[in-house]
Symmetry: C2
Subunit: 412 residues, 2 copies
């Protein structure tokens, strides 16, 4: 293993936060971890931490960008409608048997940007379909799960193209460690404090029970109806298996479910979206009665249009989330080209599948009950950023009265 | 990726041999590849070669010695009776759906030598049980499969402890490339020639239809009865899916199935056996009516005894194989601590499961029919080396007459 240009004790702390705060892994619980091969230094620490925490069996599943790309470079056309269903079914079975799930992310966000977008989309669709049984256990929050990130060189160089490999990796590491609150001695208690703050914001929004949110800003005038019996969440949250976990490390958002038939107006992205290795820039959409009827982007429009056409629910929204402009990731000023970070730097919405946990008593609702309350259903769930320093948000009550939620990008 | 101290064009050729000769991968066929992370330079080349050959989907499954070891260092006692059954069941499903299977080996052969042998044995047993449905498709030769090797530093340093990391890796690479016949311009046709030679030896043994083989040598006086309707194989062979493949790269052996109830005498190993990360040295066994009734080793005896006690069939034999002393791997003079190599440097026998393909019309036989003909059944299949420069082998015909097969370690 080459010498790494960042603080290895912070990496140790990130492994601890992943297992203790992110997953809150229980004694005897199995764990499935996915990671790019470059993240091995973090993955190895997490596996050790998990066993120290009493894990049953930890199964790491490693991926490699170069091998993923080889498929687009060399495979026959037939290849792109297939997926490793046997692997995803297995993962779903592991979760059904009680395993927790951790994803380490850090892949090159533009890995597939020079590949044929039609092939990328076909493979993505085949993958999403095969992955659905496993993903549902995550999106329904049946198990404790989390995502953490590792500063790979490939990712760092996309953010800091003018720096050397080592300098770029060091700078990304610093940003990740700060955002993940492992730049301090006791990150686990720092996370407890942060979770308390997010819980307070969610509690206020849940008391208010707004019927809709009205977003305004440059290029944006959008009313997002909220689903009936929606529930706001943020920070730590109990999974259906009873384990309170932090699904995202870092996280700055509070979020809930839009009403799939009550979204109207125009919205402009405030940051590029990195999706399946392609960068989609300057997204603009017009929504009418919950459906995107116009979809534009200055770059990657073909990928975006393929995405929105994935299935019936891919052109509606499954999530709306509030993140103040003055929050740690936003203030870093870095565009990470990674949703885990960029979505926590700005208010955002997600095309596609809603989270059942964002309904009152959501775990007991059947899919048709969720749909009846306005919850959207799709193979995809893709977040994109719509908040910035000029974003204002009003909460609209059922009686039409309004309350200022955000002014100039921050909580009012 | 660090600069590698060996010929990368030979590595390219090894990838080609793995896909074309080892697997004979078909257009549209899926492929599951397992590999240690250190073998990434070869794995990436193999994935590209497989797609160039028209592979459907290639799914790499990477392992890591350090993570494997973390379990023994840190996990709670309960952990050691569990295995990732969901992953193995998935692999079995992939094979049932037509995927081919390639294993890249090269792990540190002594990785687990300092771990508690009881835990290693429990985990190995749980793993073997969970892996059985997938392994059966391999041992029954239902699909085309192969094993190739990569010169990892950890493995190389066990063989050449006095050399530097780079020198050791370079030397192991050279030995692997020579044994795998990729040290020449056209390895695929070199393999065709070699396969023809092995086919000739197998054909002679199949005509002779010996009832038993009598091994003699220092510490060895062993009669190995051969199963009824046994069939000798060597080199390329057709899998049940009709694809002719080379399951081992390299291979020097011709092999068949012993009769599980007709093995008698004393046998002494001529090389150490590396098993699940432990080294077992100077094995001696006494067989009576097919069962090992005495089991000794000067080092690793506890691991060996656990192994032989795995199940009812673990103390009998599932394979007997002939390799001349004057053959390339043997002549390298290197002890590889890796069965793929060491078994191809010497005559060997295997404790445990037999191969159904080593019976006439074996693919159609049911397990009870195989057992009735003398085929052994077990969760394990562990080869160990019993041939050396003084090994003589007689073939004993049904009428008791004898034919010299080996004299002084080579074909008579």
């Amino acid at each position: 293993m080459a010498d790494l240009p960042f603080d290895l004790e912070a990496l140790d702390r990130l492994a601890k936060v992943a297992v203790q705060t992110g997953l809150n892994l229980r004694k005897g619980q199995d764990l499935v971890v996915t990671a790019p091969v470059e993240a091995l230094p973090l993955l190895r620490r997490i596996v050790a931490e998990a066993y120290k925490a009493g894990a049953g069996l930890v199964t790491p599943i490693l991926s490699d960008g170069e091998m993923a790309k080889a498929r687009y470079d060399y495979a026959a056309d037939d290849s792109f409608d297939t997926a490793a269903g046997w692997l995803y079914e297995g993962m779903a079975k592991a979760y059904a048997n009680g395993a927790a799930r951790l994803a380490i992310v850090g892949e090159d966000p533009m890995l597939l940007s020079e590949c044929d977008p039609a092939k990328v989309s076909r493979a993505g669709k085949a993958n999403a379909k095969a992955y659905k049984p496993a993903l549902e256990k995550i999106s329904n929050f049946e198990i404790n799960w989390s995502i953490v990130s590792y500063p790979t060189v490939a990712w760092a160089k996309r953010i800091f193209p003018d720096l050397s490999d080592r300098e770029a990796q060091a700078k990304l590491a610093e940003a990740i460690f700060a955002a993940s609150r492992v730049d301090r001695a006791d990150p686990v208690s720092a996370w407890a404090d942060h979770n308390a703050t997010l819980a307070k914001k969610s509690a206020w929004l849940n008391e208010e029970r707004f019927s809709a949110l009205h977003f305004t800003g440059p290029g944006t005038d959008l009313v997002v109806g909220l689903a009936d019996d929606h529930e706001w969440h943020g920070g730590a949250s109990p999974a259906q298996n009873g384990i309170v976990c932090n699904p995202n490390i870092p996280t700055e958002e509070v979020f809930t479910t839009p009403h799939k038939d009550r979204i109207n107006g125009t919205v402009r992205a405030t940051k590029p979206l990195s999706h399946q290795g392609s960068l989609i820039e300057n997204i603009e959409m017009v929504f009418k009665d919950g459906r995107a009827i116009e979809v534009r982007a200055s770059k990657g429009e073909a990928v975006l249009k393929e995405l929105v056409a994935t299935d019936d629910g891919a052109c509606s929204l499954g999530e709306v989330a509030l993140v103040p402009f003055h929050s740690p990731i936003s203030e870093s000023g870095i565009l990470f080209y990674n949703t885990l970070y960029d979505e926590n730097a700005a208010c955002h919405i997600a095309l596609g599948q809603c989270y059942s946990k964002c309904f009152l008593d959501g775990a007991r609702l059947k899919p048709d009950e969720i749909a009846a309350k306005g919850g959207n259903s799709s193979l995809i769930h893709v977040d994109w950023m719509i908040g910035g320093p000029q974003t204002d948000i009003d909460g609209i009550r059922a009686d039409g009265s309004r309350v200022a939620i955000f002014r100039n990008g921050d909580w009012a």
